[in-house]
């Protein structure tokens, strides 16, 4: 597979503030790639650098193997979909879609034809001659996509495009975006602070925190093999049990936590005596048989039954709350609030990472 976008030691600063620290990244041709991170971590800044609105303070941005230094956004083979869409309110839907073609000197009849074809693809044909203000949120969304696709970009950049929509529409648009991407076959770079969106749609995800890319990988990799405490706690739910490493062997290690010695896979490079945190997902916790072996004990202080799943809120006496998710059908009887439980997990399902700053 060829590389669509290559970032080499890209750093972006605003005055004395570094918004993106030296970043290396390859984005492949035709993939749906997401940047996932909390608000303010530098996602938009990085996207604006790829599209050409911000020049990097250091490093090289290559698109299709070509160095983009000094090439303006109007000359790059990228199209950006803005967070607020930025449709042109004084033009009709069709005129919006045709704008990029008009700029390129495509004749009136041809660009109308091509705009109509794109509108057909996003199911907006009946709305072609409406004003933008007459459209609903989801329709505006699709106009923005059609307008960007009209210029036949090699890379489509999307900056949290679904954040303004309501939940239902958002889930519908996720599927639709993914379908469009597969149909047109170009690279999509998608920005979001919503992990569900990223996990759901992306081929690969870069998790960002405070201007750094913490991990790049498929959704599964990121979810099951987080490489940093930030990723482990930001992506999905995790129980965090901090302590001190007491033993390392064969890729497994034991952490002395206030709840006792717990074991998990080694997820970083550390030695005996280092501070570390054991992460275990709520769905990996199991109820221990009464009187049987257990990893630690906790008191149930919240229980929510959701049909196939039951969520338990657990009080371990630590500052952090713990949670367990049980498959309802696996249990003959569910614990009651206030019950004192023994909990266990397979050490292969837990991961020990260097303690980092807590996720925002």
């Amino acid at each position: 597979m060829t590389t669509a976008i290559e970032l080499e030691k890209v750093r972006i600063t605003f005055g004395t503030f570094t918004a993106v620290h030296d970043t290396n990244l390859d984005i492949r041709d035709g993939e749906f790639f997401s940047f996932l991170g909390p608000s303010g971590c530098g996602k938009t800044t990085l996207l604006r650098t790829i599209s050409g609105f911000t020049e990097p303070s250091a490093g090289v941005v290559r698109i299709g193997g070509k160095d983009m230094a000094g090439i303006g956004p109007n000359k790059r083979p990228t199209a950006l979909i803005f967070q607020n869409l930025a449709l042109f309110p004084m033009m009709t839907v069709a005129e919006n879609v045709a704008y990029g073609l008009r700029v390129r000197g495509v004749g009136k009849s041809e660009r109308e034809q091509r705009a109509m074809k794109l509108l057909d693809q996003v199911a907006l044909t009946p709305h072609a001659h409406k004003k933008i203000s007459a459209l609903s949120g989801g329709q505006k969304q699709r106009v923005a996509i059609a307008r960007a696709l009209a210029v036949e970009p090699k890379v489509l950049l999307l900056d949290e495009p679904l954040s303004a929509l309501d939940l239902k529409l958002r889930q519908h648009m996720r599927r639709e975006l993914r379908e469009i991407q597969q149909r047109v076959g170009i690279t999509f770079i998608y920005i979001t602070h919503d992990q569900g969106e990223a996990l759901n749609m992306s081929d690969r995800i870069a998790v960002m925190n405070a201007g750094h890319i913490e991990q790049v990988g498929t959704g599964r990799e990121i979810y099951s093999k987080p490489q940093s405490a930030f990723v482990a706690s930001f992506v999905g739910e995790s129980n965090e049990l901090p302590g001190k490493v007491s033993r390392i062997s064969d890729g497994m290690c034991t952490v002395d936590t206030p709840l006792g010695a717990l074991s998990g896979r080694v997820g970083g490079d550390f030695r005996v005596g280092d501070a570390a945190t054991l992460f275990v997902r709520p769905e990996q916790l199991r109820l221990a048989a009464p009187g049987g072996d257990h990893a630690f004990r906790a008191r149930v202080d919240d229980l929510s039954f959701e049909g196939s799943m039951t969520h338990l809120g657990l009080d371990t006496g630590l500052a952090q709350d713990c949670a367990a998710t049980l498959m309802t059908s696996n249990h003959e009887s569910l614990p009651e609030i206030g019950a004192d439980l023994g909990l266990s997990f397979n050490p292969l399902d837990a991961i020990v990472l260097k303690s980092g700053a807590p996720a925002a």
């Binding site: 199209a79 803005f82 700029v103």
Partner: protein
């Protein structure tokens, strides 16, 4: 019936007509809350009385009086309202033909000045727009808050200087042996001093300059209201800068452009002090001619007729241009 009676009656007619227009212009919404219920009796009463007084006493009545006056002869006070005080078109005939009786030849002296004033005012309005637009765009979309404050101050403070003082200082600045000619000759751009005043250049520069701010503010307001992302989106779609201005920014700012241009045109065509002070010996500006009717000939009816012709022409032009640009009068007041 004397002038004042006519004025009162006509004013009443205009006001009634206005209310009918408003009433038929928009259908009443059934759930609309009554004006007094919404604002309270005191505020509501004040609004109606205040705005009514302002409109009637300072605008409609004087205008109606002037229109009425323009259809009368010039008469000594003793004869006003007497048997000789009849309606006449003489004053308008004077403007068109230069004579009260003959329609043989057109009054080219005045007509030429009239058309020149309107034509040059249009050109100056366009020039003022060309100067103001980049500034307004910079202020609205590019400048940082700090730069914006400085720029606004630099723009506003010169307008504290009154018209007449500015006109005379331009006269000094651009006189034959003035400051500007001194510089131009000093750096060797011209050998002979340029006759800025005689060629009316000083007049045009001053007229542009004095209406700059009136153009910039509506432009600035309109451009400022545009989402900067729209400009970036256009650029991202490949638009060169001129395309963005022509097809993204200007259409958005159209009401502001309309409002700035309208004001600028009206004020330029109707400027008095500047043309009086800076007009060269062969200046063709129309307002000094109107001024002369009032204060040289003491023929107020004729002056009124001349002023009304200018006003009507300007209004007609403004409405035509607004119509062509697809703007409604309500939009430019936004």
């Amino acid at each position: 019936m004397n002038n004042l009676d006519t004025t009162f009656i006509a004013t009443a007619l205009v006001v009634v007509l206005f209310f009918f227009l408003v009433r038929y212009d928009r259908q009443r919404r059934p759930e609309a809350i009554g004006f007094f219920r919404r604002n309270g009796a005191v505020v509501g009463g004040y609004l109606i009385l205040g705005v009514g007084f302002w409109l009637i006493m300072t605008f409609i009545m004087p205008m109606v009086f002037m229109v009425d006056l323009s259809f009368h002869h010039k008469l000594p006070p003793s004869k006003v309202g007497g048997p000789e005080d009849v309606y006449t078109l003489d004053n308008y005939r004077m403007f068109l033909f230069g004579s009260r009786t003959s329609t043989e030849s057109l009054n080219w002296l005045h007509l030429r000045s009239f058309f020149a004033t309107i034509g040059i005012s249009m050109a100056l309005t366009l020039i003022t727009f060309a100067i103001s637009y980049p500034l307004a765009y910079y202020m609205a979309q590019s400048a940082k808050a700090q730069q914006l404050r400085v720029l606004l101050l630099l723009l506003i403070i010169p307008y504290w200087v009154n018209d007449i003082l500015r006109a005379f200082s331009f006269r000094i600045l651009m006189a034959e042996n003035g400051f500007l000619n001194g510089i131009l000759q000093g750096i060797g751009l011209t050998g002979q001093p340029i006759d800025f005043l005689g060629q009316n250049i000083a007049l045009y520069v001053a007229l542009c300059y004095s209406h700059l701010l009136i153009m910039i503010f509506p432009l600035y307001n309109a451009i400022d209201a545009q989402d900067h992302n729209q400009i970036e989106a256009a650029r991202d779609l490949g638009a060169p800068w001129w395309h963005i201005h022509l097809f993204i920014v200007m259409p958005h700012a159209k009401p502001g452009i309309g409002s700035g241009m309208t004001l600028c045109f009206m004020l330029t065509a109707g400027a008095v002090a500047t043309p009086l002070v800076l007009g060269g010996p062969n200046s063709l500006w129309f307002t000094p001619i109107v001024y002369d009717r009032f204060y040289q000939l003491f023929d107020w009816p004729q002056g009124a007729a001349y002023a009304i012709v200018l006003l009507l022409a300007c209004i007609a032009i403004v409405f035509t241009v607004l119509k062509l640009a697809g703007l409604k009068l309500g939009e430019i007041a936004k």
